[in-house]
Symmetry: D2
Subunit: 336 residues, 4 copies
């Protein structure tokens, strides 16, 4: 049994994490933290856990957490995580960070997109990008995992194999993504007030979304060439789910069959990505750790469609998938 | 042309009011107020008005408003309206109040349910309850209209005629009502954060909702007997609409046909209430000033179902219907 | 390992059943049937099963099914199940029927409400009503389980303990229930076409819903007295979830604390019903086999609110809970 | 007063048309047709019209319709309209066709995309494409209007002025569009069954949608050059609204200010298109005949975002806007 802690247990990703970990045969949920002063029972914060998990949120220092847990899932806001990670690692814990703090391996890019200097450059280089379909070998032995962003995962799982196979150019890639509203977090704000965003779709952060450099960095890492992405996220009136539609330029004429074959070959033996012939819907993956991907050729462009549950394969499920790699469990434990 | 003002122009009822008044041939929208310091153009507050209304919200005293407008629609929070009304009336304006402040004709009941003494007992007795299907004669000459609550309107339009006709008892009435989320107003709060209330239904304020005494008072006024209501409101994941299901005890055996005939006779010549044979859906009235009502006999109970749009017939539309009565326009002007 | 079959594998309850059974350590999903002639792979019918279950739907006789499966979950329409059950039992299978066919222990009542004579009166008397919180002892050894209707379960779990304890009268009970649209099944019909029922709430089958006699029968069985229910179901624009609001007459003055204590005492050791102080939302139970219940006293009435996921605790989850009782597994296996 | 007929009065566009025409001071709704044999009152087909329009649907020949109406709004399926139009025109009526039948001015392209030969090539050349912001002069005197498709309108209103001004290339244009489900019509089918498409987003008809040639044809007409579009429509879980995100290649470096200025200059005096600085949401135009447009430069691409209500500016509202031009009414009559 591995004792785990969840930092920032009150948000949506933390809830999904708890639901998954409750089914994990080798995990003991040992510590939950939040900055709420009244130390609420977790079932008060997340009523769906009533009768299922009898723990209260505590307000602990990272050092205290590291004494009580071997593995720490950090569900803190970006900028806050870097305050905790050095002490957690110093205390001997391994960390799976669901925030954006360790995803960019370059402090300057972080500073440029997040508007503040990186708080822990020492460990930035050490962090392993936790996309197991691409980096499983490194994840196994990592002390610090940067769990990927939901949009980057959705997009990478479609584009990555095609780029690696040299079928598409790494520049001029358009990513038009659609996300459910849980992606905006659990803080009440007017744009996410039900009567504002229900029955409506809108684009946001056009040209400025912080997942842009993350997508570019990982695409670049796969090919060794700079990648350039035009990324437009949209808010969809649904709780959860992401669909990413990408448009890229083939390096030479290509057929739909070649695209699908390349994807299928890459995901052979990787259970959580399913390459499908039909056009998938986000609901096909809702509540699961699966991503469904397909590809088309439209005129002279390669179009990919990929879908997943932003809170699971896009966050908590991926975190447990990483945990399974790190602790030697079958990848699908608690996730199938 | 009547110059009108809207106090508290930033909420959902105010928006619906503006959309209706823009179509009213005898109205000039002269003044909009809000307490926002930056005096935003109304189209910035309500983007749907872009290119349709070129006015900014102002922060004015009631006296200033009364100088610039003959009729004032007050969309202020309860407790705030009573601060403005005396000056508005003193300045010569007529007032249609969409808040709860003048609905209960008894300051003690107000204090009991709203937790504070009534701020303007002087005018409380003068206020006319603005349900035109029942009180049109008084509305005509009123200086101060208390526009009814959305739940009371929905419920009264079903029960009122049956009570008046002596077909049902005035005690032991159960009102189980279902409302869209715009009824909760436009302030971002966690319970109305999209991922919290979407895909969910819940009851709230069971036994404590402030529309309870309003329903009882008006039912009582119709019959001259004390009425007693058990009222349970529910929150439904939709923008707008109220459905009120009531269960009451017939005074003597009654048939569905008698119930429907009684309703039809009462609403003869009252265009905004349509008595229907089928079971109506809130969508049948969405975006309109209509209420659809039907009735059934189930075992030994009378069951009524009534639906309307909480922001229109339940608020802004009713306000304009009152305005039409007050200023001698056909009742359906701008509302058909 | 128990080999199980699912008859009628294409609907929503069957899908939830498959998702649960895939996690059950003692179950082998051996047979899926549907009447579709092309024998589609189940992942084509339910894309969310892609890569998770590699079985096709077959068109088999009940006798053939009984040869290949020890336990049969029947997800067939009512009236069709009775054609299959005699042969399934004759072939040695145990049957958990998710249809309404064996819920009423009286063929005449069935004929009256379902408009056709009962097709298998022989086994009707033998069938055990599969509500484990009330009838666990009988379920254990049953050959034929009538899995309860979603509305009856929601309602019974709130009212049952109060009736048994003699706190409320068994007549004059009003049940005002609200269900998500998956309750209407997976057949495309105009009332469930998205733009028809989205953003709308409506009552249906007022006074005529077939769950009425089921609720009355079970309430009656608990008390030994005839029960009488006025039942009004409503359609809510959400995928899943039921909230049942009941209004009943206390036998003598009662407090909220007494009601909650009675409920808590009854559900001691029954993990899937959680008695809560707050007003629960359907979302608190979404995707789980839990029911959350609370109670209030409003004026002189007892009001209960209970919520559950209609496809899980209201159908597939309850079926697996029954299976666990029948096959000696911990009740929470695959359901926690 | 102009007597108008609506052919195919049972669908969603027809309903919106009726709601708008009921407010039109110069229109008499004279005839409604549908192929339903029982000639239902229109309020039975569309309950929201109860008490507002007392007409029944009739099953008439086009010749009979032309005798009773001067202007005919045809809301028939494509392929069916061409059967009616010749007789309507021969009978002296003017026709506004909301189907796709007269949008492509080339029978061969029609045959290629619609899979059947065009049924009325004679009048195809005469038809005027009813996008008043671009073709008002021709609309004025037209006998036959091809009311534009919802996606083409949304897309054209953003791209048209930029193309005309020579700011963007007419090839390599990517149109990623998102539509509410009413766009799929009112026929119950499994993909639009509430629990299938709710809480989900999916792409459909990728590379094959029939609005592709329509967009290309009109873009080409504006520039005199062949246009080429990669068009991907997506289904969004909401009743109504379209958001079109386009990505195009600037002909030379361009700024956001230049794009917005060009759009503003073009739409000067055209009230129904509002150029906005912020990123608009479909809800900003819901229930109105307005389109909101903005533009951005992201890296080396021009990104436009445009939103409108698919049933109004994308269908019925545009039809009335065309009617107003044809009959000499102010463009905003019944639409403001």
């Amino acid at each position: 049994m591995t004792r785990v802690a969840i930092l920032g247990a009150t948000g949506y990703s933390a809830l999904e994490l708890l639901k998954i970990l409750l089914r994990h045969p080798a995990v003991e949920i040992a510590v939950l933290t939040s900055r709420q002063e009244d130390h609420p029972p977790i079932a008060k914060v997340h009523p769906v856990l009533t009768g299922r998990l009898n723990l209260a949120c505590e307000d602990l220092t990272p050092a205290e957490v590291a004494k009580r847990a071997e593995c720490v899932f950090a569900c803190l806001p970006h900028g806050v995580t870097t305050e905790a990670v050095p002490q957690l690692l110093a205390g001997g814990a391994r960390v799976i960070d669901l925030s954006a703090d360790y995803r960019l391996n370059d402090g300057a890019t972080y500073a440029q997109w997040y508007g503040q200097p990186h708080g822990d450059p020492t460990h930035l280089a050490e962090a392993v990008y936790g996309l197991p379909e691409f980096f499983a070998a490194k994840i196994k032995d990592a002390r610090l995992i940067a769990n990927p962003g939901c949009y980057p995962t959705t997009t990478m799982l479609a584009l990555g194999p095609l780029l690696k196979a040299g079928l598409i150019e790494s520049h001029g890639i358009i990513v038009d993504a659609k996300s459910g509203i849980s992606g905006a977090g659990r803080t009440a704000k007017l744009p996410f007030h039900y009567p504002e965003c229900n029955e409506s779709v809108s684009a946001y952060n056009v040209g400025h979304h912080r997942h842009t450099p993350e997508i570019e960095q990982i695409l670049g890492r796969l090919t060794g060439r700079d990648a350039e992405v035009i990324f437009t996220p949209h808010l969809i009136p649904m709780d959860r789910g992401i669909l990413s539609t990408t448009y890229s330029i083939p390096t030479k004429p290509v057929t739909q069959a070649q695209l699908l074959d390349t994807l299928r070959a890459f995901y052979e033996g990787k259970p959580f990505v399913q390459v499908v012939d039909h056009l998938p819907a986000t609901k096909d993956t809702s509540g699961t750790n699966y991503c469904h991907v397909t590809a088309r050729v439209v005129r002279d462009r390669v179009v990919t469609i990929s879908v997943l549950d932003n809170l699971i394969k896009g966050a908590a499920g991926a975190a447990v998938q990483n945990f399974n790699h790190m602790y030697g469990h079958p990848e699908t434990t608690a996730l199938a």
